[in-house]
């Protein structure tokens, strides 16, 4: 895993004045578990995303305490979007600098939502966010029919292939990709590192 002699310790500075371990930490972990039936992917300020993830986790736990059941994803993201919106018109605060993709599985099936710093909230069948998301969106638009009817394995491969565009010249690999899945009888789970090997092998990467 080590990429050079200065990245073994969190407090070892490289001659260029970088803390490599800290930077590795910053470039990874864009997927968060919220509850067994809800997960998020984030693009933007990681610190804001973590604060929002904490809020969502608390709401999920409160709902489980009060009703002994999973919260309805649509209602949670609606409150989440309101939280974003409130930040856009308070003079002493700044808007959240993060967009979220929220995946959830409810009694009426799977849902995928996108929140924006503006407070806008959308629901999609497939979506990508982030500065280089356009090629992923294009890929998913092209393959939407196949994505809608895909089994889990095919779906993961579609996700990895959609990631190849934004990854530019780099191939997606066990080192630079992670995929999260959730659904009926499938609690939220992050696939990364060796978990991705069978899928990457099947893609011939």
């Amino acid at each position: 895993m080590n990429r050079n002699q200065y990245d073994t310790d969190v407090s070892t500075w490289s001659p260029q004045g970088k803390l490599h371990q800290v930077e590795y930490a910053m470039e990874s972990k864009k997927l968060f578990k919220v509850d067994d039936h809800i997960g998020i992917g984030v693009a933007g300020l990681t610190a804001d995303a973590r604060s929002l993830a904490t809020y969502m986790r608390t709401e999920c736990l409160n709902h489980r305490f009060q009703f002994n059941s999973p919260i309805i994803t649509g209602r949670l993201v609606s409150d989440l979007a309101d939280k974003h919106q409130a930040r856009t018109q308070a003079s002493w605060k700044r808007p959240y600098g993060v967009g979220l993709l929220v995946g959830g599985f409810d009694r009426d099936g799977p849902h995928l939502y996108q929140t924006c710093p503006s407070g806008n909230l959308y629901e999609y069948k497939a979506m990508a966010i982030g500065s280089r998301a356009q090629s992923a969106k294009t890929y998913m638009e092209k393959h939407l029919a196949s994505i809608e009817s895909a089994d889990l394995e095919t779906l993961v491969i579609h996700a990895l292939k959609a990631l190849e565009g934004p990854a530019n010249d780099k191939d997606v690999s066990m080192e630079n990709a992670s995929v999260s899945v959730l659904g009926k009888g499938q609690p939220f789970q992050i696939l990364e590192g060796d978990d991705l090997k069978p899928f990457l092998d099947q893609m011939g990467r």
């Binding site: 305490f65 009060q66 009703f67 002994n68 059941s69 309805i72 649509g74 209602r75 609606s78 009694r107 009426d108």
Partner: protein, 254 residues
């Protein structure tokens, strides 16, 4: 003792003793119910759940109100029945209405399931007992949701359980043995109704806080509904009813 300490507290705070109450007085919580309803009985059957309760509101031993409805519907799937203090049940109904309004405001077509309402009620009752100010009710929560019947109950300290048939109050003593003997899975609607009537009849005979004006309710795939009160048939020609030995050798019973 209470009078002395209250008077002292009033004197110390300079409050008007003649008003009888001041902010310095100890806070008085409900330590006994006022207007009460008696047993609620419910059971699962083939099509869902059936529930029954009479319409009497007792003021101590006085039959004060004779047309109180103690079974209500809430959300799209649920029945809630209550015994104990009627004003506390009215407060519970306010909370149920709040839940309905929340669901209506979100307007996503989803309302709380019977199981969720049962859990929520148990939480509220436990919370109130933890403040040493309990809501003086046993609640029976029944419903039919996503093809499945639900029946659960919670007491005034939040102890809760699910069961195929439940009875509260005097019903625990006198309806439960009947239900244990005669209840079976997948009873037809008429069998369930007959069993429930048998429970209510026995309770009318032996519980001194009942009247023969009983609401039956059910929750099925068609949703929850509460019928107008009816009388159950009675038979008073039994020898022990005709010729009670009250006071002779049984200490007032027959």
């Amino acid at each position: 003792m209470a009078t002395v300490s209250q008077t002292l507290a009033c004197a110390a705070s300079g409050a008007d003793v003649s008003a009888g109450r001041s902010a310095a007085d100890p806070h008085k919580h409900t330590t006994s119910p006022i207007v009460t309803g008696t047993s609620v009985v419910a059971l699962k059957y083939k099509d869902g759940v059936m529930m029954a309760a009479d319409t009497l509101g007792s003021y101590g031993s006085l039959s004060r109100f004779t047309d109180l409805r103690r079974i209500v519907t809430t959300g799209g799937y649920t029945l809630v029945g209550a015994d104990g203090d009627y004003s506390d049940f009215q407060y519970v109904q306010d909370i149920l209405k709040e839940l309905e309004v929340e669901d209506a405001c979100v307007a996503d077509g989803i309302t709380h399931s019977p199981k969720e309402i049962w859990c929520c009620m148990a939480r509220i009752l436990y919370h109130r007992r933890s403040k040493m100010n309990p809501l003086w009710n046993n609640l029976v929560i029944a419903g039919f949701h996503e093809g499945e019947a639900f029946l659960g109950t919670t007491d005034k300290i939040g102890t809760s359980y699910e069961c195929d048939f439940v009875a509260t109050g005097m019903g625990l003593h006198m309806a439960m043995p009947i239900l244990r003997r005669h209840w079976k899975p997948n009873m037809s609607e008429s069998e369930a109704r007959e069993l429930l009537e048998s429970c209510m009849r026995t309770l009318f005979y032996r519980d001194c806080r009942t009247i023969n004006k009983i609401t039956f309710a059910s929750a099925t795939k068609k949703g929850p509904s509460v019928d107008e009160p009816v009388e159950v048939s009675t038979e008073w020609s039994y020898q022990s009813f005709v010729d009670p030995k009250a006071g002779s050798d049984t200490g007032g019973s027959w």
